[in-house]
């Protein structure tokens, strides 16, 4: 009788020990998946039908090179003053995109490449400039070291444009297709004429569901 009770107790102890030891280790000692850097100018591992990084790079690069080959913009004795911002670049497409990505990259790359052949007016920084000008005129700060002008720079040309798209979907396969058209136009700010135009278009088809944010 005693032996039987001892045997049952031993079995219970052993089973409890196994259970406790099984629950004790929750640590998974494995290496995590590292972040992968991808080339912004090529198609990445996640891709859909919208405007993506490689499209932004390719279209702004193409527009920059085309503008620098236009004699109306870069063939002048006095470099023209140009505004490039997204104030007049309208997104009327179904693609979700911050249009500043296009205008910022275009302005920065163009400014670096033009090397004085064009002068860029930072109209989106005009309030910052005005505040400093007011402080100088009020005598709160001195006049700086460069010069004083009667007013901020007026511009000769300004970039305008539009993003539009046409979507189609195959109900049988779920394949989605989008034709995107991005137009860029440089407007003479006195006469209203268009002195340069650039067009970038593409059509993409994909079955995977990608969410752009």
């Amino acid at each position: 009788m005693f032996k039987k009770n001892a045997f049952i107790a031993a079995c219970t102890f052993a089973a409890t020990s196994i259970l406790v030891s099984g629950c004790a280790s929750n640590i998974e000692n494995v290496q995590g998946k590292p972040t992968v850097y991808e080339d912004a100018s090529t198609t990445g591992s996640v891709g859909g039908v919208g405007i993506e990084s490689q499209d932004v790079v390719a279209m702004t690069d193409q527009m920059m090179r085309d503008m620098l080959a236009n004699p109306m913009l870069t063939g002048r004795a006095t470099p023209p003053r140009i505004i490039i911002d997204n104030e007049y670049l309208k997104n009327e497409s179904t693609s979700v995109i911050n249009t500043n990505m296009l205008t910022d990259r275009l302005r920065i790359e163009l400014n670096r490449a033009a090397n004085g052949r064009m002068v860029f007016v930072g109209r989106h920084f005009s309030d910052m400039v005005q505040k400093e000008r007011d402080l100088k005129r009020d005598g709160a700060v001195d006049g700086g070291t460069i010069r004083q002008t009667a007013a901020q720079a007026g511009a000769d040309f300004r970039l305008g444009g539009r993003i539009s798209s046409l979507d189609a979907i195959d109900r049988d396969t779920g394949t989605k297709s989008r034709y995107s058209q991005i137009t860029f136009e440089m407007i003479d700010l006195e006469l209203g004429t268009i002195v340069w135009s650039g067009l970038y278009e593409m059509r993409k088809a994909a079955r995977d569901n990608v969410v752009y944010r």
């Binding site: 100018s41 090529t42 198609t43 390719a58 080959a69 670096r112 490449a113």
Partner: protein, 153 residues
């Protein structure tokens, strides 16, 4: 023994000829393009599926060649503002449209890389037809170029 020499020699010759005719895969390390010197004012297919050449076996005068696209002509000319325009005309020898990417690297007369970072430009070469790729430089100095062409992933 002497009687065997002739048939053996014939077999050896046939084998060497057959080896010379065999195609090389695009991943082969035997491809001539892999170690070809970099030349200026040239066009290179960096995707060996599009075009590749390899040395043939013993007794073969010409290299083996396999291609889907070929180069018709290329060159450069100044734009209206003095920048350089490079053009490349490609021919598609297949029955299928080919989506390609091309980019141009510009170098000055000393071979020093200049201009902005090259960017891949997409284009389609229609089946059994021609397509032209164009690229403009951003600087007005005299330039040399090297164009790279690959298939879109």
């Amino acid at each position: 023994m002497i009687k065997l020499i002739k048939p053996l020699a014939a077999v050896a010759t046939c084998l060497s000829l057959l080896t010379g005719c065999a195609s090389q895969s695009s991943s082969s390390t035997e491809l001539i393009e892999r170690t070809a010197p970099i030349t200026m004012n040239s066009v290179a297919f960096t995707d060996y599926d599009l075009k590749r050449t390899w040395p043939r076996g013993f007794g073969q005068m010409e290299n083996g060649e396999s291609y889907r696209l070929s180069l018709v002509q290329h060159g450069q000319r100044p734009s209206a503002t003095g920048t350089t325009e490079v053009y490349v005309v490609l021919r598609n020898h297949t029955d299928y449209d080919y989506q390609i990417e091309a980019r141009t690297q510009f170098f000055d007369q000393d071979g020093v890389p200049v201009d902005v970072k090259p960017t891949w430009q997409r284009s389609t070469v229609p089946a059994n037809s021609l397509a032209t790729y164009r690229e403009l430089s951003t600087t007005t100095q005299p330039l040399q170029y090297r164009v790279e062409v690959r298939e879109v992933n």
